[in-house]
């Protein structure tokens, strides 16, 4: 094993300090980091264990919002009564991912920062602009494997997707992160965590060295909102999404008062379909409107020959999910 230093700090301040040096990595559940270390994809010199410093609670705050500690296990989050009742799409998103064993260990913070499953990224003998800048992207070559990869391009050099299901649901609900650095907590909309990656596909988030995700904030539930998460994958369980959708709708009679649509499996980050939302909002809740709106959103997509099917899949999935919610 490649030698590394291991620390298990007991305060956030110590953790942040230990994690700020280059070559340091935080570890929470370890279900992603340890795999990548075995593969040589991650090669930290120092591993800082967050188990004793991360919040483990889910609390309802006075304004009705919910604070989820970054250390809360995926299983506990999915099965929490508040979440199941008020944010069912989130519960569904979590249990649609990984396996029971993995969810029992995986944490909320770690889930959001897990790395892509692109087969070129995962094997150090293969070229990969994300892992080894400048070496090329086999997925973008003709014949390369891109079936599972992005149709919305955020970079010319990489079409890897972000694999998290939870993040898709959280983005749909306008979740915010609580980040901790230099003794201070700052808030950041989750959607802004993920960089556009234009210049550097290896830099996936805007986190500063040493910065720790301490919690996720969910805005207070909206009256009359219904939400759903639907994931399509090649097998019934234990697979990453080809396309997934988290959607929430509030109706005013037959008119859409509010709508949120986030797509997974289509981009380097959870894809909030804002132009589709705008087109649907305030309009009659009809399949034709949904279809037109998402079709327009998808016109900016640039699929490969291998993943062109995702256009039809994303379209159909959004329409049928919204239909179920009205």
């Amino acid at each position: 094993m490649r030698p590394f230093e291991y620390f298990r700090p007991s305060s956030l301040a110590d953790a942040a300090q230990l994690g700020a040096v280059s070559g340091a990595k935080y570890i929470a559940g370890g279900t992603n980091l340890v795999d990548l270390m075995k593969l040589g994809v991650e090669q930290p010199d120092r591993v800082v264990d967050l188990r004793d410093v991360l919040e483990q609670e889910i609390q309802e705050l006075e304004d009705g919002s919910i604070r989820i500690g970054a250390g809360v296990r995926n299983t506990d989050l999915a099965s929490h009564p508040l979440i199941r009742r008020q944010y069912p799409a989130m519960s569904r998103a979590i249990v649609a991912g990984a396996s029971g064993q993995i969810r029992n260990v995986a944490t909320t913070g770690g889930n959001l920062l897990q790395r892509t499953r692109c087969v070129y990224f995962q094997d150090v003998s293969r070229p990969c602009n994300k892992r080894a800048p400048g070496t090329g992207c086999p997925a973008l070559e003709s014949g390369g494997l891109s079936r599972g990869l992005a149709i919305f391009r955020t970079s010319e050099e990489c079409i890897a997707t972000h694999p998290s299901d939870l993040a898709v649901a959280l983005v749909a609900f306008d979740a915010e992160l609580a980040l901790w650095r230099d003794g201070q907590e700052r808030r950041l909309p989750l959607e802004q965590l993920y960089t556009s990656q234009e210049s550097a596909p290896g830099r996936e988030t805007i986190l500063e060295p040493g910065e720790i995700i301490t919690a996720v904030h969910l805005p207070a539930p909206v009256d009359g909102r219904r939400s759903h998460y639907v994931k399509v994958r090649d097998r019934a369980s234990f697979a990453f999404s080809l396309v997934s959708v988290a959607a929430a709708v509030e109706l005013d009679g037959d008119t859409v008062r509010g709508v949120r649509i986030a797509l997974g499996g289509v981009a380097s980050r959870p894809w909030r379909a804002r132009s589709a939302e705008q087109a649907i909002q305030g309009a009659p809740a009809t399949s034709a409107n949904f279809s037109r709106a998402i079709r327009d959103e998808l016109t900016t997509a640039v699929p490969t020959a291998d993943n062109r099917f995702k256009l039809a899949l994303a379209h159909n999935l959004v329409v049928s999910t919204l239909e179920e919610l009205i």
Binding site: R117, Q122, P138, R147, D234, R235, F238, L313, S320
Partner: protein, 694 residues
């Protein structure tokens, strides 16, 4: 002395729990990598980073400098190896690279982790040549191989062209199946220990004697200088039928460093190094009259192999035993590419071949308007249509009829509910009945116990239990008084576990030995302390069998649902009825059949090891990206059988059940998808991409 119990004891056909079930679920069954060895070292392999070329330099100085590294082996310093007919095993003997991922060096260290870490510090330079890794139907370099899995590559009967020209109905279609890897739960692993010129290898092997002989030749030893132990094996599916490079590396490394050496392939390394079912491109042409009676049957298959060793997936050999068409032709083409060597994989030939043929039969059923079950019954035969030999037993029709009854075929409906459309499909199954010579010894002890000894192997199928049942039945003693000892070349010769011939071949030997022992005991008063021993060989009896065609048959029925707006396919129900001779143990038999059918679902809907033609590599090289069915994908699978009494094949009447379950499944499912959607997918796996309209 008489060991005859007052009433005849009967064990064959009884539902008996595996004798090693408890050991396995409590983790006490010892697999190759788990044997303790003093002062053991660990080897980790390094794969080539180009698909074709020459190694121009290997710098392992940085790796050598890592604390705990004992040695680095590569072609520049590795000991020379002896003879082999499989050049995959000539590890570190030359600077040539024949496929990406081929093991070209190994680090030997005090721990697995150190070896793996140091392997990343070995830098290799190459002179890279242009590679060719893509199989096509008519690749310019293709040729007709001399044989396909020990059989002739081509059979021609009558005149197919004329029959096709005169046929009232024809089907002419191309089909393709994907490359797929076996991925046994236990990775390929070896522990090699030298004691002077004696080599012992604990090996994850389906065939200990074969492994012994191959290794002995490579190291210029006599077979008696090598002992191979394969007491427990965690699945093989054909990938452990003959030794893999890690066995040679472990033995070589152990010799070099003078310590026992363990080597296991990682899951990722198993993709290039452990064999796979190669992709196939096939063409089927059928000619029939209006009633669906076949007059012409043609099946052509193209497969790939590596540049190191010829392995030709025998796709069309199973077709030779199916339907009664007077004019028939089947042939194979093989292309050598810069890819890893494919290998036998559960239902080799039959599994991909029957996807093509049984899909084509469905197309004929549609074209002729004859019910697909009836169509198959109408074209049944009592003689092997390519040799004219009579079948010892052939119960295809009974399987189709019984399957149709269980399934409710005549009452099937296409339904649509909540966006899911259902469809139904059927296909025939067949697996040839093979048998190979084996020996077995039985020792009787004064305390009334018996030891049954032969170098058979239980790769997870339950053969240890089946052999116990066969022995106890012959000896007429309770199961608890018989110990079955297998998995070691210090035991009498036995053939390996492959081609569904294990229980038939070993059972035959155990049956004979048991009978001989019973006769011996009938004339014996006291058993000496060292026991009484008999040993038999089945070679003569096998030679003397009548010239008949022998095969197991079956029929599979599938119900699928296809989601209209996403194209997702779910198998709702699978019914399989098989006729596979005498069933020794219904519990382990059902497991084998259900296991095979589960493989069939994976083959139909999921399995494809994706090739990157530019890198020249199978890139979905882990179990997160190479998909097979998860538990949630597996519906109600109903496997049952029609018992057969077939004394012509062997005295126990066993045909073998390990492989037939996967044969035809993929076609039944693809046919059901067609029934549900009207979309005929002729290239496996069937994916939502194919079914998703715009």
């Amino acid at each position: 002395m008489s060991i005859q119990a007052p009433e005849r004891l009967s064990f064959i056909g009884r539902d008996i729990e595996r004798v090693d079930a408890r050991l396995k679920v409590t983790g006490r069954a010892t697999y190759a990598y788990e044997y303790p060895a003093e002062h053991v070292a660990y080897a980790y392999g390094i794969g080539a980073a180009v698909a074709r070329g020459r190694i121009t330099g290997i710098d392992s100085s940085a790796a050598q400098g890592v604390e705990g590294v004992i040695a680095v082996l590569d072609h520049t310093g590795a000991p020379r190896l002896g003879e082999t007919n499989n050049r995959e095993l000539l590890v570190f003997q030359s600077d040539r690279v024949s496929y990406r991922g081929q093991l070209i060096a190994a680090v030997i260290a005090e721990s697995f982790e150190t070896a793996r870490d140091a392997s990343q510090l070995v830098s290799v330079s190459y002179e890279q040549d242009e590679h060719d890794v893509v199989l096509t139907e008519d690749h310019p370099a293709s040729f007709r191989p001399e044989h396909v899995a020990y059989r002739v590559p081509e059979v021609s009967v009558g005149d197919v062209e004329t029959a096709l020209a005169q046929a009232e109905i024809t089907v002419d279609q191309a089909y393709a199946t994907a490359a797929a890897h076996h991925m046994a739960l236990e990775p390929h692993a070896s522990l090699a220990i030298w004691e002077e010129d004696q080599l012992t290898v604990f090996e994850s092997s389906q065939y200990a004697y074969e492994a012994r002989d191959v290794i002995a030749k490579l190291f210029a030893l006599g077979p008696e200088q090598v002992r191979v132990i394969n007491g427990y094996v965690g699945g093989g599916f054909g990938s452990k039928g003959s030794p893999r490079p890690q066995m040679v590396i472990a033995a070589m490394a152990s010799r070099v460093v003078g310590r026992p050496v363990k080597m296991a392939l990682t899951r990722q390394q198993m993709f290039p190094v452990s064999g796979y079912r190669g992709p196939t491109v096939q063409r089927v042409r059928l000619g029939a009259n209006r009633d669906g009676e076949l007059t012409a049957f043609e099946h052509r298959a193209a497969a790939q192999t590596s540049r190191l060793h010829d392995f030709a997936e025998p796709c069309t050999t199973g077709t030779r035993t199916m339907y009664a068409a007077a004019n028939r032709f089947d042939t194979h083409r093989l292309t050598r590419l810069d890819v890893p060597t494919p290998s036998f994989c559960r239902g080799p030939g039959e599994a991909p071949g029957f996807f093509a043929v049984e899909s084509a039969l469905d197309e004929l059923a549609i074209a002729s308007g004859v019910d697909p079950v009836e169509l198959r019954i109408r074209n049944d035969t009592t003689r092997d249509p390519s040799t004219g030999h009579e079948y010892s037993t052939r119960n295809l029709v009974a399987c189709l009829e019984e399957g149709a009854r269980i399934y409710g075929w005549s009452r099937r409906r296409n339904q649509e509910a909540e966006g899911w459309r259902t469809g139904h499909g059927v296909a025939s199954s067949m697996y040839p009945t093979y048998q190979m010579p084996s020996r077995a010894a039985i020792v009787a002890y004064p305390d009334g116990t018996f030891a049954v000894r032969l170098a058979a192997v239980d790769i997870g199928t339950g053969s240890r239990t089946a052999l116990l049942q066969i022995a106890a039945e012959q000896l007429q003693v309770p199961l608890a008084r018989v110990n079955v000892e297998i998995g070691d070349t210090s035991l009498p010769y036995a053939v390996g576990a492959f081609a569904s011939l294990g229980t038939a071949s070993w059972g035959h030997a155990v049956h004979l030995a048991g009978r001989e022992m019973r006769q011996l005991l009938e004339g014996t008063d006291t058993i000496p302390p060292e026991g009484l021993r008999v040993e038999v060989d089945t070679a003569e009896e096998i030679q003397a069998r009548p010239a008949k065609a022998n095969a197991a048959f079956g029929a599979q029925f599938a119900q699928v649902s296809v989601r209209r707006h996403t194209g997702e396919v779910r198998v709702d129900r699978l019914v399989g009825v098989f006729a596979a001779g005498r069933i020794v143990n219904p519990r382990t038999t059902r497991s084998q059949l259900i296991g095979g059918m589960t493989w069939g679902i994976s083959m139909a809907l999921l399995e494809e090891t994706a090739l990157d033609p530019n890198l020249g590599e199978y890139v979905t090289s882990d179990l997160a990206s190479f998909h097979f069915a998860s538990c949630a994908d597996i519906p109600r699978i109903e496997a049952s059988w029609i018992e057969e009494d077939d004394a012509d094949i062997n005295p126990v009447g066993v045909k073998g059940v390990g492989e037939i379950g996967i044969v035809g499944t993929a076609a039944a499912i693809a046919n059901a998808v067609f029934d549900a959607t009207g979309v005929r997918v002729r290239s496996l796996p069937v994916r939502l991409d194919d079914l998703l309209g715009d």
